[in-house]
């Protein structure tokens, strides 16, 4: 390129006399949005992020931690009662044999998807604003997968049967019969366990350089106990460029494989329904519709978590208004896709001319569960439309409230899909109405405690932002000196 330009000095003319290159080019100056505001330097970032872990445990943290533990105990008691008694303690009965357990499973696994979207897909798309939110979002993914996994594992009742007679994992039962690998439910076991494992690995690889920083700071401060613990997990990272070279490649590949992974996980989750023959489930739109919904719900949860964190720890320079705008816009885009999918389902139900399919959708909107359907439409289709407006996106409190609506709406989406379709199946004589039992309510309510419990531990003991990545996006990190201009 350089040689080419020098062969044709400015002002050279083509044979027809027209100038080949303009004598002077004035490129339009389009300033990039600053990802770290107020010109913070490397050391400020280190102090800010490490300071959260190194400082004294704040009082609010203990209150939240205690509350989360109390809420989590509801899950523990619900599950203990379930294992001691049997799955009959859940409210499932013919014809609704899948209900809150799988609703909650899909809800939580969907929330996890935003974390992987931020860490993997936005990494491949070189969206540098991802850096300051990806660590917390990935942690959210892992904890959401933990909450999700509770339901399929415990729905087998005697949980130890999940492994050895192979009610979930591939081991033969006492007659030597193996799992049915033609079934999406078995695919799901592989999808979700791979997703959980790869999410943990990806998160850990991202943590290594920051754990090295923590190790060195604790060593310098003379706290050898903590230096040992962080040092153990830092694996002896020393930030050498020959290490970075392999590290960056590994990170890129992990992002590259996590992208098809995250898309496949919710696709396979949607196969649980789409591969069946139930009207309202047996549709080809399910995979993309589920993936869009998952990202939508996940961004809802990311904002629910990050906005309070930003306010409490004064992270406004790192999670700027630009970050919030980006998150709101992704929520808007995916929420609109979900709204499109809802209308497309109705269109296909009519256009497909299948009376059972048509009935299933009319029943969703106007049947016994219409209340759930309209909560879903209100939260998922109408709520995100507020994000068109800058005034809304700049009002953090309002964004936070809207993000809660997104979470609620996406839970109801799964409820509507699963329960309405089953409650009105082919034979009117078997129609029923499902209500959850108190055990189910306890178990689900408690998962929010489990999630918060884990997330609070995360913000207390792990650097909540990838310092090395945030440092790499500030102007001072540019080897060609953009900070000098």
């Amino acid at each position: 390129m350089g040689a080419h330009a020098s062969d044709h000095p400015p002002g050279l003319s083509l044979p027809n006399g027209a100038p080949a290159i303009l004598a002077e080019v004035k490129p339009v100056v389009i300033p990039r949005r600053e990802l770290v505001e107020h010109g913070r330097d490397f050391h400020w970032i280190t102090e800010k992020i490490c300071g959260i872990v190194e400082g004294k445990t704040p009082v609010w943290w203990w209150w939240c931690f205690g509350l989360a533990a109390i809420v989590a105990s509801f899950t523990v008691s619900g599950l203990t009662y379930l294992v001691a008694t049997g799955v009959g303690v859940w409210g499932h009965a013919n014809p609704v044999n899948w209900a809150w357990d799988i609703v909650n499973f899909v809800f939580w696994i969907g929330i996890g998807h935003a974390g992987t979207l931020i860490s993997a897909i936005l990494c491949l798309l070189r969206q540098k604003w991802r850096t300051s939110i990806n660590r917390a979002a990935e942690a959210m993914t892992i904890f959401a997968v933990v909450c999700a996994a509770i339901f399929p594992v415990f729905h087998v009742g005697r949980i130890w049967f999940a492994v050895l007679p192979g009610w979930l994992f591939p081991f033969p039962n006492s007659n030597g019969i193996w799992q049915n690998f033609r079934s999406p439910l078995e695919w799901d076991v592989f999808a979700v366990s791979t997703y959980g494992t790869v999410s943990v690995l990806f998160w850990y690889v991202g943590l290594i350089p920051d754990l090295g920083t923590m190790r060195d700071r604790f060593t310098a401060a003379g706290n050898l106990f903590k230096a040992r613990i962080y040092g153990f997990f830092a694996m002896g990272w020393r930030g050498s460029n020959r290490q970075w070279s392999n590290y960056e490649m590994a990170y890129l590949i992990l992002a590259g494989i996590s992208t098809p992974l995250v898309l496949s996980v919710h696709t396979i989750v949607s196969f649980d329904f789409a591969v069946s023959l139930i009207p309202g489930w047996h549709t080809t739109i399910f995979p993309p519709y589920f993936v869009a919904g998952a990202i939508f719900s996940g961004f809802g949860m990311v904002m629910t978590l990050m906005l309070p964190l930003r306010a409490i720890y004064r992270l406004e320079d790192l999670i700027t208004q630009y970050h919030i705008d980006c998150m709101c816009k992704i929520t808007l885009a995916t929420g609109t896709m979900v709204g499109y999918a809802y209308s497309m389902e109705f269109f296909i139900a009519w256009y497909g001319a299948n009376p059972y399919e048509g009935f299933a959708f009319i029943n969703r909107a106007f049947g016994h569960y219409a209340w759930a359907y309209w909560i879903m439409i209100g939260c998922n289709v109408i709520t995100p439309q507020f994000f068109w407006f800058r005034q809304v996106r700049e009002n953090t409190t309002l964004v936070w409230i809207l993000s809660i609506f997104v979470n609620v709406g996406m839970w109801f989406e799964r409820f509507v899909i699963i329960v309405t379709s089953l409650a009105r199946d082919f034979l009117p004589s078997s129609w029923g109405y499902y209500s959850p039992s108190v055990v189910e309510i306890f178990t689900f309510f408690g998962t929010f405690g489990v999630f918060s419990f884990l997330f609070l531990l995360f913000i207390r003991f792990v650097p909540i932002m990838p310092m090395s990545e945030v440092k790499a996006v500030i102007p001072a990190a540019d080897p060609h000196g953009s900070s000098k201009h």
């Binding site: 690998f181 078995e186 791979t194 494992t197 690995l201 694996m235 460029n241 392999n246 590994a250 090395s468």
Partner: protein, 176 residues
Amino acid sequence: MNQTYGLIAAFDTTPDLYHACEKVRDAGYSQWDALTPFPVHGLDAAMGVRRSKVPRFSLAGGITGFVTGMSFIAWLGWVEYPLVVGGKPMFSPMFAFPVSYELTILFTAFATIGGMFLLNRLPMHYHPVMKAPQFVRALDDRLYIVIEANDPKYHATATRDLLAKIGGKDITELEA
């Protein structure tokens, strides 16, 4: 006996380090490294570091995962316990695909991370540069170049002069 591991020099800004690395590379050193708190874009080329070999591990892991999934399900259907379900074939790559796909990703992830650890020789909880008092800033806000004494071109004074000439500050000898 106090043997020398090498020399460490500090740099204040990323462009300084970047250009210094180019000069160390051009001076013909091979056993040297840059310590940075974040990955510096393009520093591999400035240092003359070749493209990472991690993808080879990833590819091997991915192929292993896919073959494992397909052959496991084929073995189940054809050999271990042939069982007709819904009149479908004993084995078909179609229904074996989702599981094989997930295993491809799972094995690739393990191979990638394993390969990265192997190539970076991690875990290595002790390294001579970690003993240096200035190392605490290497993962915080300062950039360093370390030239090892076992480099064939290393010379206690000539290398020190080179580091000083290219803008290195606080040049110190590292104990082995």
